[in-house]
Symmetry: C2
Subunit: 344 residues, 2 copies
């Protein structure tokens, strides 16, 4: 079923980070958007985490994200920290860890609490400081009561780098590393939204990753061949996209994929696979096999990479993802999208 | 009355481009946002149309805007054209007319018409082509039915330039030029929203101004000392901000300010001064007195500047705006903000 034929109206799944969203973007968002970029530049058509434009002998990297997370305050973070981290992370996934500037555009519902707005702004400031990413300009709009549910933030970021890492660079033999436990953000927001009582303390992993990525690039340089942050649609969506773009098969070793006890409990309670759940402080990193150990060591030495693990390897074959469960292998189906709306 | 003391909730006027909004930005948005910029860079604190960051011997200019206009299709334009033009114009007002890249982030309400989304995207494409400004990356989010009224667009733009024009460069003696008739955008949206029947054909002026600004900078170079696009809050807000930043008094010659017959009729019907009404294809340009004629000629030679006029001059004195009505002079009071919400 093609979206182009079947859908006359926008559905929630069109924003869920999976196949439905990708089809909408391909069919509508990019239709006729002649990039106007020079050959070699990376624009909309690459559907990467951002765009990369040649400026002299450097790359200017740009990325944008709107944030509609609900609730706006959740265990481990809030919409402000999410916005800054999300944008810094998209830049980092392109190999651009030195952020020149972030923009912050706020749309508010009439009647929104001024105190909550201050909390969000303070959180943006703190996260921007943590990432060394200056917020340089902004915009404020207000919509009437009932015209918007609370607040939307848009953050757009710009960075300059010598070398671009895409999400399409995998080759057979390359190893896949996940930088820590998966699913924490999505499950934390779900439990906050639905007031689920769980054992332990489930918190979002939301964090700016540019420092961690910098240390990875420092030890492995161009042996880092692909990066992606597994946000909406989780690790499953991310690896499916990486496999499809590079036309390799990714074999994931399920027992090696780190999942916290709390996320595991939430996963079982809700019947949702952590592989499909959003992360906001994790990266999937593809590296040449000989560099895997050094990258893993660099990650383990970083506060945000303590539980990093090698979780898979690329093999020849046609753009698919195979899950090795330890007792057998099965094809991992790409999720239609993130199971929960407004996760980021 | 200070916003900081009196307001516990966000009000419509906080998004209306005038004094109330400026106070909110100063008190909340910028509170503690330590820019992290280098001395000389232009960041949030300048409250200009965008930010300017030194990169080598050039300036990287960044600007962001969210667009919430209602209705999304109006005479002369739509939200897509508005978004691209608004961002291109903010860059142009900083003197940066060669756009490296625009981002486009879309937030949609579940149930939004796919056909309307296509119309908006096509309009963005056309306007981006007109401006020679490539749309390089994007983002799509969907909110539930009733959580958002239709669609919000965010466009962020980046440009590189050798020379920055701020909105703060006026000196006594400088001339002020408006590049055409004022109020057309705001009145067009108002009449569309309220189905007002008016004589003639009132259309928004929404257009990307970078080509026109380029031709102005070509003839006058550094004699162009200040630019601002009079969007929310209209020409009145713009000149008040320019006067305040430069600590000059601006004397506006009311009879010289171009107003179309249609906007005049709307103004009289609605009892709203065109000076307070939003424009989306006009600039207020401050020039050294000896350059005024050449700038005016360059504007008249451009399709978007046919009705440009010299409308005022700066004199010594304390940051105010005086309106010379032809029969007398009075202090022009800064509007609290745009009279109509969701004008852009």
């Amino acid at each position: 079923m093609r979206t182009a034929l079947a859908d006359e109206r926008i559905l929630m799944k069109h924003g869920a980070g999976g196949r439905a969203m990708r089809r909408l973007i391909e069919d509508v968002m990019m239709a006729g958007l002649g990039d106007g970029l020079k050959p070699g530049d990376i624009g909309l058509r690459a559907m990467d985490d951002g765009a990369a434009i040649r400026v002299g002998d450097k790359w200017l990297v740009m990325t944008t994200d709107s944030h509609v997370v609900h609730p706006i305050f959740f265990p481990g973070g809030d919409i402000g920290r999410l916005a800054v981290s999300g944008t810094v992370n998209d830049l980092s996934m392109m190999g651009a860890t030195e952020v020149l500037g972030l923009t912050c555009a706020v749309v508010l519902e009439e009647g929104f609490s001024r105190d909550n707005l201050i909390r969000v702004q303070m959180s943006m400031r703190d996260t921007a400081l943590e990432a060394g990413a200056p917020i340089v300009t902004g915009d404020t709009k207000v919509m009437g009561r009932g015209e918007l549910d609370g607040i939307i933030l848009n953050t757009t970021g710009v960075a300059i780098t010598d070398h671009i890492v895409t999400d399409a660079g995998l080759q057979p033999g390359d190893m896949l590393i996940v930088t820590g436990t998966i699913g924490d953000h999505g499950f934390a927001v779900m439990t906050a939204r639905h007031n689920l009582a769980l054992e332990g303390h489930l918190v979002s992993d939301v964090a700016p990753l540019n420092g961690m990525v910098r240390s990875v690039l420092m030890v492995a340089g161009r042996d880092v061949v692909a990066m992606k942050d597994p946000t909406r649609g989780g690790v499953s969506s991310a690896v499916h996209e990486m496999a499809a773009k590079a036309r390799v098969t990714i074999v994931l070793d399920e027992p090696s994929i780190p999942v916290s006890d709390e996320a595991r409990a939430a996963s079982e309670l809700l019947g949702i696979d952590p592989l499909n759940v959003a992360n906001e402080g994790k990266a999937v990193i593809g590296v040449r096999p000989w560099a895997a150990k050094a990258v893993l060591a660099a990650l383990h030495a970083h506060p945000l990479g303590q539980r990093a693990a090698i979780v898979g390897q690329c093999v020849d074959g046609g753009a698919s993802v195979v899950l090795d469960t330890g007792v057998g292998r099965r094809l991992l189906v790409e999720p239609e999208g993130e199971p929960l709306p407004r996760i980021c």
